[in-house]
Amino acid sequence: MWKIFLVLAVGFSIGFFGLIKDKQIKINSRLQTLWLLLLIFCMGVSIGRNGEVIQNLPALGGKALLFAVLAVVGSVAFVFILSKLFLEKEGEK
């Protein structure tokens, strides 16, 4: 867990204190997509080599969708209420 905070902090410092050139920033954002896709591939492999998970995938997919939909509905509902109470009135003034 501490490794995650460490690499984030080191990366953040490099960006924040301008230790990186414009060209490298572009390269970094392109590499980011590559790292992301490689990571997702590795995660896919982890799922694929786990027989238990593969057997349960049809059931897990439905469950995942249920959690995604309800998390989205909950988020939208809470932000809607909070924005009606505290944000929209200010905007109208």
């Binding site: 995660m43 492999v45 249920l66 909070l82 924005s83």
Partner: protein
């Protein structure tokens, strides 16, 4: 991006099923290192956006209402989903605590010794990003632009920022980015709370 993600994920799963065990075992272990490289890269991007910190100061504490609503709303949705799917409440919270950051939430839960929960969390947060891409225009039309930030969660600072700014305005896009940054900072703390 969502489509590319689903294709690569499917390829990885098929690869994992049929490739020799030595290779799949190596790739399995490599994923933790891959995450660290990705986070280093993301960290640089975070640090580059100094303007976001100026914006937080200008809007005051009320900007926090958006990520606050996103987090509380997600957890409530997770609790209801846990009830309907007969999942343990704690696991339900951990699944939605990813706030759309699928790569991190899936790995954290899998590494904690729950590969099934990790897979559900990963898929659930991928679905969350896809739902965001599809429904942002409708949410802006029928509710308000603040609500368009809500489904994005942590992805509001990168992948879904484009679609939010396209359908709202500059101010909302900045709030979305700030909300995404705050959610992103919260996820690594929030998910382990429920493990």
């Amino acid at each position: 991006m969502s489509l590319a993600i689903l294709i690569v994920l499917a390829l990885g799963i098929l690869g994992g099923m049929f490739m020799p065990l030595e290779i799949s075992s190596f790739l399995d272990q490599a994923s933790s290192g891959m995450l660290l490289i990705l986070l280093f890269s993301v960290g640089i991007d975070l640090g580059l956006n100094r303007q976001a910190f100026v914006q937080i100061r200008q809007m005051g504490f009320r900007i926090l209402l958006i990520p606050f609503g996103v987090i509380l709303g997600s957890l409530c949705g997770g609790a209801i989903a846990a009830f309907f799917s007969q999942t343990q409440l704690k696991e339900g919270f951990a699944i939605v605590a990813g706030l759309g950051w699928y790569s991190l939430s899936g790995i954290l839960i899998t590494n904690a010794g729950n590969p099934v929960g990790g897979t559900v969390s990963f898929l659930s947060n991928v679905f969350r990003e896809m739902i965001t891409f599809i429904f942002v225009p409708f949410i802006v039309k029928y509710l308000n632009s603040y609500c368009a930030i809500a489904p994005a969660g942590a992805t509001a600072m990168d992948t879904t920022l484009g679609i939010i700014s396209k359908h709202t305005d500059g101010k909302t896009a900045v709030i979305a980015f700030v909300s995404g940054v705050i959610c992103t900072l919260v996820v690594p703390v929030l998910v382990p709370l429920f493990l």
